[in-house]
């Protein structure tokens, strides 16, 4: 249902290569006879020290996952990892992930890196672990967290919190009129409530149920920064995409055109929100976001986004591959970060208008370490 935007340029650019692959598959009788005798090529890598790892993302169009896939491919050689990349077709495609997990088991991989779609894939993950594969969740911890061996993730709550603290300090005691552009409104996923509720916690607003978006009081006082009055105008779903972000922002502006603080689930949504604000002639609103992709950092530099919490997806996949290769060669398994139930791969706030009491880096520094260049 919720497809993140497809990027045709990438598809077109790979067309020639993919045609070759299809040709290979269709005429495999002829082509592969030679390659099966050639030990370096082929699929199994049997006999080599190479370790089979499958990276399974939610989809292959979201820049975050694309960056993760590309980064992992680049680093695969370092640890002599034979990496296979797979994903669901789109957000919500549990079956696509289940299939990829089964494929990985059949291929004899040593481990799986997965951004689990939903609890729907838990049974398949269990099957993989029963078959002796080491399973690391990336980015999104599964529910329950012990479904996988360990999770490598951004602390999304902290990411939201940094945004909130920065926003509260920036408002400098002014009343906050807030729009919350979430991911979904028809299903509940942890990244959605952790960022949203983390943001409100950072603002110093009582969130009610910390795992539920939208149940907080619509008006009251925020205590972050100098403190002040706040009004929450809306919780709208953006689907984490430009068009969704724009429509969501338009719906919010229709309710209250004086919005001055916009939280967005990610940067594509922020870009959409900004377009809607501009069209409505609102140039005062501050936008905060999460992800820290290169395009997002660029938006910070241009002043479209006030601040964004940067995360490090390449690090997640790279660290994950390292861990699996190490275990496969008899090494030790990684341990969760102290105080968390997952291995924290770090988060930093990127802004060109730093405030006291909130640690941050500027957009130039952020651009050096951003993902999805």
């Amino acid at each position: 249902m919720h497809s993140l935007p497809v990027r045709p340029s990438r598809a077109a650019h790979r067309l020639v290569a993919s045609a070759a692959i299809v040709g290979l598959a269709l005429t495999a009788t002829a082509c592969n006879r030679s390659s099966s005798s050639d030990t370096a090529a082929g699929g199994s890598g049997g006999g080599e020290e190479s370790v089979g790892v499958t990276l399974i993302t939610k989809d292959s169009t979201n820049p975050f996952f694309v960056a993760m896939q590309n980064g992992a491919k680049e680093d695969a050689g370092k640890n002599n990892v034979k990496l296979t990349v797979a994903s669901g077709k789109q957000e919500g495609d549990d079956q696509g992930q289940i299939t990829a997990i089964e494929d990985s088991i059949a291929r004899g991989d040593k481990g799986i890196l997965i951004t689990p779609m939903s609890t729907g894939v838990n049974a398949a993950i269990k099957k993989a672990r029963d078959a002796g594969l080491y399973v690391i969740a990336l980015d999104t911890p599964p529910d329950p967290a012990d479904t996988v061996d360990i999770t490598f993730a951004t602390d999304n709550r902290l990411a939201g919190k940094l945004d909130g603290e920065w926003a509260a300090a920036t408002l400098d005691g002014k009343p906050a009129v807030i729009a919350l552009l979430d991911l979904f409104d028809d299903k509940i996923v942890s990244v959605d409530y952790n960022r949203d509720q983390g943001f409100l916690e950072g603002m110093g607003i009582d969130v009610g149920d910390p795992k539920k978006n939208g149940d907080e009081a619509k008006t009251g006082k925020y205590t972050g920064g100098k403190g002040g009055d706040y009004t929450i105008v809306c919780n709208e779903a953006s689907n984490g995409a430009e068009d969704g972000g724009r429509s969501a922002m338009e719906r919010c502006l229709a309710k209250n055109k004086d919005i001055n603080l916009v939280y967005t689930i990610n940067e594509p949504a922020a870009v959409g929100a900004n377009a809607a604000l501009k069209a409505a002639g609102n140039s005062d609103a501050i936008i905060v976001s999460v992800d820290g992709g290169c395009a997002g950092v660029d938006s910070v530099k241009k002043g479209v986004i006030g601040a964004t919490s940067q995360q490090y997806p390449l690090k997640m996949a790279t660290l994950g591959m390292e861990a699996i290769a190490k275990i496969a060669r008899g090494g030790e398994a990684p341990k969760p970060t102290d105080g968390l139930d997952f291995f924290n791969t770090g988060v930093k706030l990127v802004t060109d208008e730093p405030v006291d009491g909130v640690e941050s880096i500027d957009s130039t520094e952020g651009a050096d370490i951003c993902w999805g260049k």
């Binding site: 249902m1 005429t27 699929g43 789109q90 049974a123």
Partner: protein, 340 residues
Amino acid sequence: MTTTTGSAAAEFSRRQQSPLQRLQHVLHGRPWLSPLFLLVVAFVAFFIATPTFLTASSMGILLQQTAVVAALAVGQTLIILTAGIDLSVGAVMVLSMMVMASLAADGGMPGLIALLIGVALATGAGALNGFLVTRINLPPFIVTLGTLSIFTAIALLYSGGSSIQADRMPRLLNFLGEGFGIGAFRLTWGIVVVALIYIVMGFVISQTAWGRYVYAVGDDRESARLSGVPSKRILLGVYTVAGLIYGLAAWLLIGRAGAATPNAVPDANLQSITAVVIGGTSLFGGRGTLIGTLIGALIVQTFAFGLSQLGVDQQWRYLAIGVLVIVAVAIDQWIRKVKA
């Protein structure tokens, strides 16, 4: 006198046939032959290309991965045989799945009752499609485009967007995910159910008058009506039976995923149509077989699984399958041009 010249002419034209025309004739009678050939080629190719493809455990996995779409494709085949199309397959299945899971897990209903209600709901949803197609006379594409959204929305509203783990459900609902095996070759009960669906519907479609009417209505609805075939009743029946099968697929899916999720198999409609088309069933109706559909579903999964075992990133498989669809439709068009 006319008769002798006639048969001589027939004899003459028979001798004139090129090998290609003869092939065209053979395929015309057995449209599932070309997909079967492709399946065999794919098997041989992947067998040579990777040692992990043709193993007992891999074959078990391949069948398990095919099961849900193969089941949905039975209903889709029936509808496409009547020159219709069903875009709401996945939506009906998911709605049925959420209802049976929720009735059992949250409502505390016995598994059998929940299952029956879920399947009945899917049957009713199919009947609604059929009613709109036959009584309100709307094109199937439009009807099911509408009900796709309606059923999806109801499933999301009903489930509140959250999924239900199988461990909260009675064993019966999760039963089709359980399996048995001979060594490493493992089959699930779900595969057995799919096999039964194919056997029963294969019999109905090829051995009963009802099956013959399905073809007749799909090929030429007006001629069928003039011949005394109750076209509307047949169409209504086709959509209803399809709904029933989607309900069974919902049961399968719970076992397969170990959970009921409201946004499972988001492109079930396209996947099932793909299997049907690759299996040699004509989108124009009246032509096709269930065995072809089964082969079509297997081809799609074989390519996907085989390419994955080769370590090929899965984006490429969509391209391969796209090529297959276009080739399949082109072959269908060519076969239809067959002459006496």
